[in-house]
Amino acid sequence: MSEIKPTDPAATNTGEEKDWAAAKAFFDSLKTRKPRPPKPQYAVTIAVSSRTLFNMVAERKIYEEEGVEKYVTFQQEHENEPLMQGVAFPLVKALMTVNSRLRQLYPDSEELFDIVLMTNNHAQVGVRLINSINHYDLTIERFCMTGGQSPIGYLKAYMTNLYLSKDGEKVTEAIEEGIAAATMFASGDVENQLSDTQLKVAFDGDAVLFSDESEIIVKQHGLDTFFEHEKEFENKPLAQGPLKCFLEALGKLQRKFYAKNERMNCPIRTYLVTARSAASSGARVLKTLRSWGLEIDEALFLAGAPKGPLLQKIRPHIFFDDQMFHIEGAKELGTIAAHVPYGIGQKYHKGKLIEQPDKDVKDKK
């Protein structure tokens, strides 16, 4: 997976420095003293789409049934009515909590979460989006409203570490461009049960943190071959998966808390929730993480048991998995799940090969 941030963060040209200085001046001059967004090359940038940040189901229906002009008019007419919270909302609040803690401990650091609104909505809809952001007092200062164009190119331009959307096609495109991305699924009203002091992120292992190389073996040669293979190659690190760099970015921020003796009180906690078994195939995963210099707070080996009940206990703000089967299982029990459309798992459903339909002419919105 490509490195998103420039390898030498200090190498910015004078034009950029001027823009940065002007931004700093502007935010410092504000009476409200709201925190200014961090320098992109140091930040962990998370781009969210408008439909993940806010619940726009009713509005979406208008768009699909009556067309774009009616949709934009509707949004303009309701500009001053805040939108309802969306599936990524709890995650955004948790990111903001982490930022507050980081700012307390490191007041001059630019190593923070930066939340960017990335939408192909028409700019006129933007007024309602900004009003809604104001209503909930979210720290989102950067956005791209591309008026119908795909936002994918902008993800790179904003040095995005993670992209969340409801649109599976855009997410697939982002992953193909080397950007960690996932499609979010609504799961009902869970936010009042989620922690508001600690960000919890759960990851599946194969084809999410790691490549799908082992999953290919399972699908094509069966479980027995898989176990033998993993035992034989226990000490050979797996290749990276699409979300590895995001875990790495989280780890970097975690270490900032450890450095200030806040390990017990760290507001970020990571989980590995894998179908692998601790007794056999699990060892390779732990050794791989160690070889990458990455830590994960809790590794949960289910040995094939359903993930839903365990996730229900963990209550993560987001859970990443490559297989829709697990996403559905998580959703059923109220977990906020995000599908990573990567690897061999996309061609199978519940163990059976999916017939690939002919590609229709798709509406790109």
Binding site: K18, K34, A123, M145
Partner: protein
């Protein structure tokens, strides 16, 4: 003193109703080329070429919808070149089939006057200094954006982006910048910039409304470079109040602007105050 030459190959617009735009010839035709005396072959394409083609697309679409349309782009090529180059410029315009209504040949010192006397709604140049000078003299001007890869810039759609940091900032906000290292000249410049952008924005708004939300040959955008989201929202509403409903909006809040501009690839970048950033060092 200027000499104004009408282009016989192009149907003359009603200058009172049209959006008269003056473009520097150095932008349309590459000035770097070695001038060989007596050379007659067409000049090489310059940075503004795709802009010229895009303007043509907009005009053609407008005329297709209404053959009596008067709200069209009317391009004046502004040249400070020596007399021996004049006929070559005219011939090159014909060679490429450029929709240039008039050629204005004058000395560099007289350029501003020529712009003022021809009711130019916008002067376009790839040179930021020329744009600044024109703006200081009260001539509405904007930058012809030079993309890193000129061949990549679209010719099918004209993209006009307005910067909104000053448009969207209240008097109070601009006043507050005084303590942050901005000079009095810069702050005064911001105030006048706001006014100069308005007329062109109104015209673009009117033209944009001739087309639907999708499939428009004219795409308008707003970008704020250093301000917060509320300044961007305020700029959106201000433009809306002037009749311009922009299609795209970008709020950078200090993020580097080149990667974004390289993607947006505007032809015209209306800087409301950004050019005043030259020389800004902030609080050290």
């Amino acid at each position: 003193m200027d000499s104004m030459v009408r282009n016989p190959d192009v149907k003359q617009r009603d200058a009172a109703q049209a959006v008269v735009v003056a473009v520097s010839s150095d932008a349309i035709f590459d000035p770097e080329v070695e001038q060989v005396h007596g050379a007659t072959e067409p000049l090489r394409k310059g940075d503004a070429f795709s802009f010229m083609k895009a303007i043509q697309v907009v005009n053609e679409r407008l005329l297709t919808m209404n053959s009596d349309e008067t709200l069209l782009f009317d391009v004046i090529l502004l040249s400070n070149d020596s007399e021996e180059k004049h006929s070559r410029i005219i011939a090159s315009a014909k060679h490429y089939g450029l929709d240039i209504g008039r050629f204005c040949f004058c000395n560099k010192e007289d350029s501003i006057e020529s712009l003022q006397s021809n009711n130019v709604k916008l002067f376009l140049s790839t040179d930021t200094n020329d744009v600044c000078k024109a703006l200081q003299k009260g001539v509405p001007a904007a930058l012809l954006y030079r993309p890193t890869d000129p061949h990549h810039q679209t010719e099918d759609q004209l993209k006009v982006v307005f910067s909104g940091d000053v448009i969207g900032s209240s008097e109070e906000m601009l006043h507050g910048l005084r303590e942050q290292g901005f000079t009095e000249t810069q702050l005064q410049g911001f105030k006048t910039a706001k006014g100069s952008v308005k007329e062109f924005a109104v015209l673009m708004g009117e033209m944009r409304r001739r087309f639907g939300l999708e499939g428009s040959p004219l795409c308008t955008g707003l970008m704020t470079v250093w301000s917060s989201r509320n300044v961007c929202a305020s700029a959106l509403k201000t433009l809306r109040g002037w009749g311009l409903l922009v299609d795209e909006a970008f709020c950078l809040a200090g993020a580097p602007r080149s990667p974004i501009l390289n993607l947006v690839q505007p032809h015209i970048l209306c800087l409301d105050g950004l050019y005043h950033m030259e020389g800004f060092t902030g609080m050290s």
